[in-house]
């Protein structure tokens, strides 16, 4: 629907199909092919809370520069089935293309039972407005009217050819190849080096040469057909020479890497979307290497001898109550220990978090936010748990909240969470979200050489404690942090209890000891506010003292930076404050940015503008505008661009609700 000038290496591609039919691996191959060609990739995955059959799609952007978000427009839509077309054809830009199966043309909208009533009605209205009927051919015709290139691919014919060539007796055995045909056809019109796709196939299907060959052969055929059909497609992908080494990973993987690097050795989980991906990844990689101190091979210190016996124990528990309490038990032994969950599971951890806090146990909870409330939309995105995490548990107890905004922050916060947990002896809730967890992208290998492990104050073995000078786990005499001992250590026997306790950890109801302990616990939070470096607390992007300042947090970062790049290029004076440390809240650091701004925009993936509420509570400063979204789909670069622009131009209402996404 937008520009029609020829574009090299700036593409928005989408593939769709039923859950479980292989759409994911085709998207993976597309992405890897691009990456192999030196391009940057950002991929977003949308799917139903369903195992098989419901519609799912992948929206990918390929670019010569780093991409951090999706846009609403689709330049190439590829699919082998009807539903994807009904749902997404309207998103294709006028200069874009649709790759499809021409044999499905007669399919009617009403033949697709999985399309929601509301959407079906909406589509019908659209088709009527275009003066066409309700078959797929009608949908395609409407697209063609707009200038969209139609790329019919005879999927079945091609499959039969492959079956013949590779002597496959049943077509159903190679049904998944169909997705790769769509990928091949895409590269055909985009003019991308087919060799990159072959490499990607090898990458994905590693050991299975026949599968690679079969898919490659099919894809090549589709490639050629498509190229012949649309020889002059305005979008092109071209190989870039010698890119630097890059990571290609998801947010879940990034978080897992940070945690492992930070020395985590124990993680519990109970299956839940989207959190369990991280734990399963850890489980698959339970055997670890101990060695030098770099993240990648290039920083390995050959002098440090390789040690044996490193591993992480990942335990699937009976529920999330067991997950948090078991992880806390493990933390008491000195192991860096964590649990990862999403909203419903987090609900069950309230008491455990309170217990860990009153007992000053370092424990990390990685909270993968998804759309609530209740079961909500388990596979959809939201940043709705901020306030809940901040106030989790009855009574009052300190905890640190860190919210990551991109992959590098996921890695860093994965490690920092443990450092802060150890140093301030309290639970750290690390907030991630579905958009971050499930998006995958290329990213330069970050330089993490500044990262160190900080275990905080420890009571070492052979520590000089004695009968007359006994170890006190909650010693009140030397500042708010008392040296921590591990279970099993000699000379440092202590007690823990969820009750208020005296210095050794025994129950007390003495009102003055109570006050002292409350004050000790919260003083640690003050300490954290003082010690945590400013660049962990927040990042400011944009010009100095602009009239408009955005306040946001978490995974909106990618789309915001992408949108702002465009706005800045156009001369807009907008600043963006990305808040990463939510608690203790960096009041002093934030105030100067807000105090002078004429317009302050709170941008969040939730209904209530939760961070904005905290900002007002802590600083007294109110946002003048809100840009919010709560339909379960992440904010796109496109809609953010539009919405911010409207605010800057004085054309926005106080509250803008974004609604794009399907």
């Amino acid at each position: 629907m937008s520009s029609s000038a020829a574009k090299v290496n700036d593409l928005s591609w989408m593939i769709g199909g039923p859950q479980g039919s292989g759409v994911d691996s085709s998207a993976n191959v597309f992405a890897r092919a691009c990456a192999a060609g030196g391009l940057h990739i950002f991929g977003k995955r949308e799917f139903y809370s369903n195992i098989m059959g419901e519609h799912s799609y992948f929206a990918l952007r390929a670019h010569s520069n780093l991409v951090r978000s999706h846009i609403d427009d689709v330049n190439v839509l590829a699919t082998f089935e009807a539903e994807t077309l009904f749902r997404h054809a309207r998103e294709v830009t006028d200069d874009g293309a649709i790759i499809y199966d021409p044999s499905l043309g007669k399919t009617r909208l009403s033949d697709i039972p999985t399309i929601e009533t509301r959407l079906a009605a909406d589509l019908k209205t659209y088709l009527i407005s275009r003066g066409v009927g309700e078959t797929l051919d009608d949908v395609l015709a409407a697209s063609k009217q707009r200038g969209v290139s139609l790329v019919p691919i005879p999927f079945k014919d091609l499959l039969e050819q492959i079956a013949d060539e590779f002597q496959i007796d049943q077509l159903s055995k190679i049904s998944r190849v169909v997705n790769m045909l769509a990928v091949g056809a895409s590269f055909g019109i985009l003019g991308f080096d087919f060799e990159m796709m072959r490499r990607a196939l090898e990458d994905v299907f590693r050991a299975k040469a026949k599968v690679v060959n079969m898919n490659a052969a099919g894809a090549r055929k589709a490639y050629d057909i498509a190229k012949a059909l649309v020889p002059e497609f305005p979008y092109r992908l071209e190989k870039l020479p010698r890119p630097e080494a890059r990571l290609f990973l998801t947010g879940s993987q990034a978080t897992a890497l940070g945690k492992l690097y930070g020395g985590m050795r124990f993680q519990t989980y109970y299956p839940i979307t989207p959190a369990s991906d991280e734990s399963e990844f850890l489980e698959e990689n339970e055997l670890l290497d101990l060695n030098g101190h770099g993240l990648g091979p290039e920083t390995r210190d050959a002098a440090t001898p390789k040690e044996e016996g490193a591993s992480i124990l990942v335990v699937q528990t009976e529920d999330e109550i067991a997950a948090i309490t078991m992880a806390t038990g493990a933390a008491l032994t000195g192991a860096r220990s964590a649990t990862a969950t999403s909203g419903p599971g987090f609900c069950l951890m309230m008491e455990g978090i309170g217990w860990a806090s009153i007992n000053e146990v370092p424990i990390v909870i990685t909270l993968y936010q998804r759309a609530g409330p209740s079961t909500g939309m388990p596979t959809r995105h939201e940043q709705g748990d901020l306030r809940f995490a901040l106030h989790a548990g009855h009574g009052e107890s300190p905890r640190i909240l860190l919210a990551s905004g991109d992959f590098e922050e996921c890695i860093r916060d994965g490690l920092l969470a443990f450092n802060y947990a150890d140093r301030y002896q309290m639970p750290v809730i690390h907030l991630v979200d579905k958009a971050l967890a499930n998006s995958y992208a290329t990213t330069p290998v970050p330089d993490l050489s500044d990262l160190r492990i900080d275990r905080g104050a420890l009571a070492l073995e052979n520590n000089g404690y004695s009968k007359d000078n006994p170890y006190k786990r909650f010693d009140l005499s030397n500042g708010p942090v008392s040296p921590r001992a591990f279970l099993g250590q000699e000379g440092t026997i202590f007690w823990n209890t969820g009750d208020e306790h005296e210095e050794r950890g025994h129950i007390t109801e003495d009102p003055m000891v109570r006050d002292a302990m409350m004050e000790k616990r919260f003083a640690k939070l003050d300490l954290a506010a003082k010690e945590i470096p400013r660049d962990v607390k927040l990042r400011y992007f944009g010009p100095k003292n602009p009239p408009t300042v955005i306040v946001s947090w978490g995974s909106t970062k990618g789309a915001l930076l992408d949108a702002l790049d465009r706005l800045w290029a156009e001369g807009a004076k907008v600043g963006y404050l990305h808040v990463r440390l939510i608690n203790p809240f960096p009041t002093a650091e934030i105030l100067p940015y807000l105090a002078k701004a004429k317009r302050r925009i709170g941008i969040e993936m939730n209904f209530g503008a939760q961070l904005a509420g905290i900002v007002r509570e802590q600083t007294g400063v109110e946002m003048t505008h809100f840009i919010l979204k709560y339909n379960g789909r992440p904010m796109s670069n496109t809609e953010l661009y539009d919405a911010i622009q409207a605010v800057v131009r004085g054309k926005a209402a106080k509250r803008t609700v974004l609604t794009r996404g399907s």
Binding site: L295, S311, A322, G329, L332, T333, F486, G505
Partner: protein, 327 residues
């Protein structure tokens, strides 16, 4: 501390004021734990005792080992975390009957599935002691203690039976006023390789006026001849009962036998070991199959940082799969 010095139960005592009611059955359990640890020559700092919430749970404050008094119903998962992260520690876990079988029922079932090498003791007093005597899951249907407004409306759960159903590989019962027998039983439970569950009949004189010391002791039914009370509690081992699965093929037989014994109540209440099976691999063994270095380098005992805090985890192998390199 040299091991030979630790031989007295008093070495396992703290100076914390004990606030149980006079005559509470918990005193017996506390004493026997201290005796068992002393007799087994355990070093106090190598032992961790984990408890839930309730009168019973206060026990840990009176024992000089690491003592972790946790949340209501959650003693087992906390204890499991401790043991898994450092399997070299000796872990005991204590619950009330409400704690372990009511709110903690889900963990009870799942701990059996793991067969982790530890002993779990339930203080079975039939009531929620610390909240003033409501019916606990082991109180029988229709009975009414003095603390209840109405007769108990729920059927009782049978802890022995449930433990067997859940998969505990050692199941026993003790009586808190038979100290000698209880010490022996606790020791056997600690020494069992795998998950041992011990139900201890623990009179609560304050709220449970039915299952009292006098009742267990049979004071209400004196031998017509000598006038001596005829205790309800009897010892399995004294009747030649053999709980041990000596060969995996015996599992069914020994289990059924244990189940039958578990049904006895009222006039004859068996104590002792109901079931013991060491042929099931422990959870630690199952982990070690996947991670051969687990027992020597468990999570708690791995170095993670160099002298200046340099992270020592080498992610090369994992990263190789996630990296694109220059051509």
């Amino acid at each position: 501390m040299a091991l030979e010095q630790i031989l007295k139960p008093s070495d396992f005592a703290t100076d914390v004021h004990n606030d149980w009611c006079p005559g509470c059955g918990d005193f017996g359990i506390l004493r026997t734990i201290q005796m068992a640890l002393a007799e087994l020559k355990m070093e106090p700092h190598r032992v961790t005792i984990v408890s839930g919430i309730g009168c019973s749970a206060k026990t840990v404050h009176y024992v000089k080992t690491y003592g972790i008094h946790t949340l209501h119903g959650r003693a087992l998962p906390y204890a499991t975390g401790v043991k898994l992260a450092n399997p070299q520690l000796k872990v005991l876990c204590l619950s009330g009957d409400g704690d372990g079988l009511g709110i903690g029922g889900g963990h009870f079932v799942n701990a059996g599935r793991r067969n982790l090498d530890m002993l779990y003791i339930i203080h079975d007093n039939g009531v929620y002691g610390l909240t003033k005597g409501q019916a606990a899951p082991t109180l029988k249907l229709g009975v009414q203690t003095k603390s209840l407004a109405h007769p108990n409306i729920n059927e009782a759960v049978n802890p022995i039976w449930l433990a067997l159903a859940a998969g505990a590989t050692w199941v026993g019962r003790g009586y808190s006023y038979d100290i000698k027998h209880l010490v022996a039983t606790i020791k056997a439970g600690i020494e069992h390789k795998g998950y041992a569950f011990l139900d201890v009949l623990q009179p609560c004189p304050t709220y449970n006026d039915l299952n009292t010391k006098e009742w267990y002791g049979g004071e209400d039914r004196k031998d017509p001849a000598g006038g001596r009370p005829l205790p309800r509690v009897y010892k399995l081992e004294e009747e030649g009962y053999d709980p041990v699965v000596r060969d995996p093929s015996e599992v069914e037989k020994k289990t059924t036998q244990a189940l039958e014994k578990a049904l006895e109540w009222g006039d004859r209440i068996p104590i002792g070991v109901f079931y013991k099976n060491e042929h099931v691999p422990t959870f630690e063994e199952r982990i070690a199959q996947r991670v051969p270095t687990y027992m020597n380098h468990p999570p708690a005992l791995q170095p993670i940082a160099g002298p200046n805090g340099e992270p020592r985890t080498d992610l090369t192998r994992i990263l190789q799969r996630l990296t694109f390199k220059a051509e």
